[in-house]
């Protein structure tokens, strides 16, 4: 019978991604309830060079799976992961719900014929039965998922949702050989994001961010003025940057910038999608203004205003003249 947990590590440019430690942390927390060993699979051209970073508290075994590509490649990644699955026969597989995770987790679930859920932010184990919690409808509801009749489940875990594992362990290290597999895509190059043009979201202490609630391009100017008056750096959600209303350097979130130094984040007309929150939910003082009392942003905010961002803006300006 399938037993134990297999964690699929993530690496890019020769470095383990932080989400790997979170997957290990999640595995460690439920290890005793799931039963069996925790193995971490490192899939890379030179997996041995990354092994140390995965020998963390709770990890019994690090599996080295050498592949013929430097960077993530779905065919090789799935073939390698399948090798680990067939050799260790885990009842639970943990993968990251990261951009690369989106590129292979579903393929692995299909090939391993596993129960499957993505964007999971909580795992429960009850008498050996795994259930998982994910969001739905822009985080306005949560869904508890079960996997009836499955002796193997793959969960793709939301980044930043599980505490990272810490503390070194003397986990064993085993190399497995990956069957020869054709890579049907080839990494050409990484392209770093364009330079910021003076906009410094990570360095800003006070950010005023606008989302789709702003309605149309012509309305953006008034909030740019408000931000200037308040001495805040103007930020935005992705749709505003995609539409070209503000430069990409102002986008906060998973595929944008992280508000690393921010003490105060004023979110106007932003719903609170997971990907936006990824860049700002850690900020201690979040003030959210949204016309929808059920907007997910209120679940991370310290202060909430249910109201119209235009009306609030008009009033606010009088305090910062």
């Amino acid at each position: 019978m399938a037993q134990g947990i297999l964690v699929i590590a993530e690496q890019r440019r020769g470095v383990l991604s932080p989400v790997t430690q979170e997957l290990i942390g999640a595995a460690r927390a439920i290890k005793n309830d799931v039963g069996g060993a925790v193995s971490v699979a490192i899939i890379a051209r030179d997996p041995a060079s990354l092994a140390e970073g995965a020998r963390l508290d709770g990890v019994d075994e690090v599996l080295l799976l050498p592949v013929t590509a430097d960077e993530f490649q779905p065919d090789l990644h799935v073939a390698a992961a399948m090798q680990a699955v067939s050799e260790r026969d885990p009842s639970l597989i943990l993968a990251p719900h990261s951009v690369d995770g989106w590129g292979y987790a579903a393929a692995l679930a299909v090939q391993a014929d596993a129960g499957f859920a993505t964007d999971v932010f909580a795992i429960q184990v009850d008498a050996g039965e795994v259930t998982a919690v994910r969001g739905a409808y822009g985080e306005r509801a949560h869904a508890l998922l079960e996997f009836p009749g499955r002796d193997r489940v793959l969960l793709a875990l939301r980044p930043s949702a599980f505490p990272a594992a810490e503390g070194a362990a003397d986990s064993t290290v085993t190399e497995l050989s990956v069957p020869e597999t054709a890579a049907r895509s080839r990494h050409l190059e990484f392209i770093d994001p364009p330079s910021e043009g003076g906009v410094d979201i990570p360095g800003a202490e006070f950010i005023l961010s606008i989302g789709r609630g702003v309605g149309e391009e012509d309305n953006v100017e008034e909030f740019a003025e408000l931000a200037e008056q308040m001495q805040a750096v103007l930020g935005c959600s992705r749709p505003i940057a995609d539409a070209g209303w503000l430069p990409k350097a102002r986008q906060v979130g998973y595929s944008g910038k992280t508000a690393s130094s921010c003490k105060l984040y004023l979110a106007l007309g932003i719903s609170g999608s997971v990907q936006h929150l990824a860049g700002m939910k850690h900020v201690e003082n979040i003030i959210a203004v949204n016309s929808d009392a059920n907007a997910g942003i209120f679940n991370v905010a310290r202060y909430g205003v249910v109201g119209d961002m235009f009306e609030v803006s008009k009033e606010l300006r009088q305090h910062f003249e």
Partner: protein
Amino acid sequence: MKILVPVKQAALVEDDFELRDDGRDVDPDFVDLQLNEWDDYSLETALQLKESHDGIEVVAVTVGDDDAEDALRTCLAKGADRAIRVWDDELGDADPVVIARVLAAVAQRETPDLVLAGTQSSDLGFSATGVAMATFMGWPHAAVVVALDYSPGAATATVERELEGGLRQRLEIDCPAVLTIQLGINTPRYASLRGIKQARSLPVEELTPEDLGLEAQDVGEQACGARVRKMYLPEKGQAEMIEGTPAQQAERIAAIVKEVMGG
């Protein structure tokens, strides 16, 4: 050549909503339906290829009940050549794995040269269907694509994937392939009034999983990767709600700003 575009009629939950009696989903009385935002971009990608090359047919396909037909009409109105809707009530609990299996069966019948899915659905956001579909088909795939360079008939395409923090990865992929398209790759068009009118009279081909050679055990509950046991409202956060008129609210915000930022 042919481009297959799987599209979803996504549910937009209203500000105030209730759960269904069985507690496993939102009550459909409280949702508005809309073409999934990501599918606007994948359809646009297909339409732009069609406009810049001769002889491309764009086929939109959805797995959904009667209400999903509107999503297909939207695609037709914007310029898709054909539309296919697959449904049977046994798909009511379908998860992305089952949807992908049905879509792969459609692809097997349509034999497209390229499949352009969305990166995720705006309602349930699995970010899984396109890649699962490719796996059932045995095709190469690339997820979260923000740029595409492809000439019909070419053996490879060059794409850019958008990674964390705005980093991009440029890669070459063998074709035919399934790509999942990310927001921002283009600017989706609006349907013209004329297009909308014309789309009303265009046919939508209706199929069942059975028509596609799928059996009940391929698409029923036991084929799903997961089952929703229950849905519930998230616990309210710790937010202190600032009440009052906009003037009073603004005054309080200003006080907090001054307190936190000093000055």
